[in-house]
């Protein structure tokens, strides 16, 4: 910061939101943009902290001592809020920087999730590199196949064709990419990391089977119905937490892609599958005496 903030001599009305001239054009890399935004924000926070000082000082000469103290306390509280907001913005800037990598160039204009050039943090990069959700396209187990056949969903129990396999692989990859994106954003609770949830599910037979079934429905019936089922699972308190998180990620990953709807012969599919997943989990819990 080079300029010393000036105390306004005349009472000012709040100014309109200033534009940051350099943000869109001048900066060629995000480091420069981040630095510029951070500098501008610091000045704005400092201007807010000193704002009204002249008026306050002038008024103090006319106020009784207890009012002076009261006013100072209230204004100090506002100043603390300004400092807190500044600290929060710094955190947001840090998150954006981490999301996009420290040396991102003007290629940042590419959509983040689809950009293979993005540079995630090392730990997340490792997750994505070593796991693109291959387990999600594995064949479903005999128990699930039996249930599907007995409920007139035999068409879903057959093995994927090579074309379907590719489609399933794309969906699985999308789920992982979305989970990685959400993990990087860091908006989740500490024990609800989407990548961790997928990792836990992968090693849990029943939960991984539920996710494979969702992928299968997305491929065979359509994304929309699979998304609706996943959304229901994500809200169902009777379903294990990891599966709820993963189903939420699944719904969020595929929900905007396609508008395929199930045919009339599958009008109960959503309800049936949700019930099956729920019952399967309930059976598992009772096996463990929970």
């Amino acid at each position: 910061m080079t300029n010393t903030p000036r105390v306004p001599i005349i009472p000012q009305l709040p100014e309109s939101i200033p534009h940051i001239p350099g943000i869109e054009k001048a900066a060629e890399n995000s480091g420069e943009i981040i630095e510029k935004t951070s500098g501008e924000a610091k000045e704005a926070a400092e201007r807010t902290v000193i704002y009204g000082e002249v008026l306050k000082t002038k008024l103090e000469s006319e106020l009784p001592q207890n009012d002076i103290e009261g006013m100072e306390k209230e204004i100090a509280d506002v100043n603390r809020r300004a400092e807190k907001s500044y600290a929060e913005l710094q955190e947001d800037i840090k998150n954006v920087a981490q999301q996009n990598g420290p040396t991102e160039s003007s290629a940042a204009k590419e959509p983040k999730l689809n950009s293979s050039a993005e540079t995630p943090t090392e730990s997340i990069k490792a997750e994505v590199v070593f796991n693109n959700g291959e387990w999600l396209i594995d064949d479903i187990d005999d128990e699930t196949k039996k249930w599907l056949n007995s409920h007139n969903y035999g068409a879903f129990s057959e093995e994927f064709t090579s074309e379907e396999k590719q489609k399933a692989q794309d969906y699985a990859k999308g789920v992982y990419e979305n989970a990685a994106q959400k993990a990087r954003a860091g908006k989740h609770n500490a024990d609800e990391n989407p990548l961790e949830a997928l990792k836990k599910i992968e090693s849990n037979g029943d939960d991984s089977e539920s996710m494979r079934l969702l992928i299968r429905i997305a491929v065979r019936v359509g994304i929309k119905i699979a998304t609706i089922i996943a959304q229901n699972i994500s809200k169902d308190k009777d379903v294990p937490k990891e599966l709820r998180i993963a189903a939420g990620i699944f719904a969020d990953s595929l929900g905007v892609v396609d508008q395929i709807v199930a045919g009339e012969e599958h009008t109960n599919l959503g309800q049936d599958i949700s019930r099956y997943i729920k019952e399967r989990n309930a059976a598992k819990l009772s096996e463990h005496g929970e």
Partner: protein, 59 residues
Amino acid sequence: MVGDQKTTEEQLQDAYDKFLIKMLALKLAKLEIIRKYREKVDVAKLANINEALIRRYSK
């Protein structure tokens, strides 16, 4: 797979805009605090004037 994401510039601009709105709100809050105490001073002054006038014209 998922819809368009915002660029770095757009994300930063959004965060910065929100921050500036908060700063403006805080400046308004300060003006309101000052106005509140200014009003107390004015009310006290008016009360004094009122009392002086009453004393003057009640004689």
